[in-house]
Amino acid sequence: MSKPRTLYEKIWDAHVVERRPDGTCLIYIDRHLIHEVTSPQAFEGLRLAGRKVRRPDLTLAVPDHNLPTTPRRDAQGQRIPIADPQSAQQLAALERNAPEFGVRLIGDADLEQGIVHVVGPEQGFTLPGTTLVCGDSHTSSHGALGALAFGIGTSEVEHVLATQTLLLKQSKTMEVVVEGELGFGVTAKDVALAICGRIGTAGGTGYVMEYRGSVFRDMSIEGRLTVANMSIEAGARSGLFAPDDKTVAYLKGRPLTPKGAAWDAAVAYWKTLHSDEGATFDKSIVIDAADIVPNVTWGTSPEDVVPVTGVVPDPASFADASKRAAAQKSLDYMGLTAGQRMEDVAVEHIFIGSCTNSRIEDLRAAAALLKGKHVASGIKQALVVPGSGLVKQQAEAEGLDRIFLAAGFEWREPGCSACLGMNPDKVPAGERCASTSNRNFMGRQGPGSRTHLVSPAMAAAAAITGHLTDVRELLNEKRGEVVA
């Protein structure tokens, strides 16, 4: 009998083209997603070297980072020019490069357009057991469906375009086990933040994570996408979920999934994709679901996590001198003082969107709280940016857009938007945003912007009260209303 293997090892072994004596492997890449920011220099490199794309059929291009989230076509169907000439230039480069190299492009005004990590699963381009790459660190998202998915740099994008392979060393394996049941008002985002807080942003460096345990088994595919998305915030390039019946049900019938006999063959293959009994992980992290509460970040790193009911930590409380200095720098940047209650922190901006939290379940969770409510008077801008045109369409069919608009939110076109402010959606310097995105880095949402990472429901709660708020209080009120 062969040695028990982890899910990661099974996928790895199935993709080795060549193994070198030093352990480096040439790994076959099954799926390549392209967007406009990290691909122009790669296509340029191919052009200069006279090289072709080896497998355009395994490649899919979607613009997302630079697109304005305001309407892109006028009433006559003509493109509304993009104000920023550099954004326009990057988009034009993708629109030129994709057809020139035979790659399918989902265009800026297509219904299927959206954030590349929302589009991949939604279209069924992402499949279990595949290797999937994209020039974007949040490619880890696709691990929710059991794909070995990771972000790459532009040189690697060019390498994959030219050869459909990457030279890689096998990573170590880490299981992240969360057992039990999530408490009232606790979401997948809170779990992801809890993991970042627990192991730190370098905790997963060099590892591929596998999410195991009852919480992840019970989690919806969309929740798993949120968790896998933030694997990279804990340092891991990839985070895997073993495909199960939910995965198969989610994928069935999506446009790019196999059909007929090929589907049956695929499902049979996917059923073999789980860590074997007795397989060992290099590291194991175990978290009790009962310990996870609605979380917020206080600093400028995704590991700076506290319960929303907690306080801003005192830099002096950190054991290591460099951490104390970093914490003080974060507090200065964030305009917070040690000991301040997180619930007393007022926000001026709300952002519901990003590849972490812009899918239909995220919008439903926020809308459920916002129904019949209005954003607080101190809120200067509240944005909802659906992850794709299809998410937007679904939300509109359910009337969610009307709930958001009535509550004082703006209802936008799909894209990356204020997660990183490459398009016009930014948080001004010194202002504070409760954001469902993934990074609270200095200047991430615009120069000088201050970000607090939260779940969609927590973002909605902050919108209603004007400050960071324990969503469970509002959920209890809602319960009361229903009963009354």
Partner: protein
């Protein structure tokens, strides 16, 4: 790619921990469609602070950067490596690097050297007054004060950096093996090619 064998010169005594690639190069610099010219945006936010090492005349044009733990975490943007290369940096020395960043650096001819924190502390001290010597062939970092720190590097990366080799060209030499893999795999996973949309 330019060959990298020995790098000697002043080093920026930076030392900051958990430097994410948003700090190395903020998002608004990512709108270029070229690999060059990003040095101007490197560490833009930190350079607003008076007395920062990047604008101190004694370090101008230093080929070496000394940083803290977990350098290059966050976004996969290769622009971070391009920005450092454009600044003239050929070697980054730190206790640890993010996986994505160290791959990107290597592909742009930048050597990432992992050394323990004690060595970093010592090099930070030397860097304030004197040059640092990095020898890739010998895998050592040395100073004129007889400091000598040995480092590990992946043999393939070392080979490519020393020879200035183009990785894509090397892999294209394996086209037959890739074709054979595809042919065999089509039997194992006949469902792999996406349905035509």
């Amino acid at each position: 790619m330019e060959k990298l064998t020995v790098v000697e010169g002043r080093a920026y005594p930076f030392g900051m921990k958990n430097v994410d690639t948003d700090i190395v190069i903020p998002a608004h610099w990512l709108k270029t469609i070229s690999r060059t010219g990003l040095g101007k945006g490197a560490f833009e936010v930190l350079r607003k602070e008076p007395g920062n090492v990047f604008d101190a005349p004694e370090y101008a044009g230093s080929p070496i950067l000394i940083a803290g733990d977990n350098f290059g975490c966050g976004s996969s943007r290769e622009h971070a490596a391009w920005a450092l290369a454009d600044l003239g940096i050929k070697v980054v020395i730190a206790p640890s690097f993010s996986d994505i960043f160290s791959g990107n650096a290597f592909k742009n001819g930048i050597l990432t050297v992992v050394l323990p924190q004690e060595a970093i502390d010592r090099l930070m001290e030397v860097a304030r007054t004197d040059p640092i010597h990095v020898d890739l062939e010998q895998q050592t970092v040395t100073t004129r004060f007889q400091d000598r720190f040995a480092f590990e590097i992946d043999p393939f990366r070392k080979h490519c950096l020393l020879g200035g080799l183009d990785e894509i060209g090397l892999t294209l030499g394996q086209a037959d093996a890739i074709g054979q893999f595809e042919a065999k795999d089509a039997g194992v996973r006949p469902w792999l090619v996406p349905a035509v949309a």
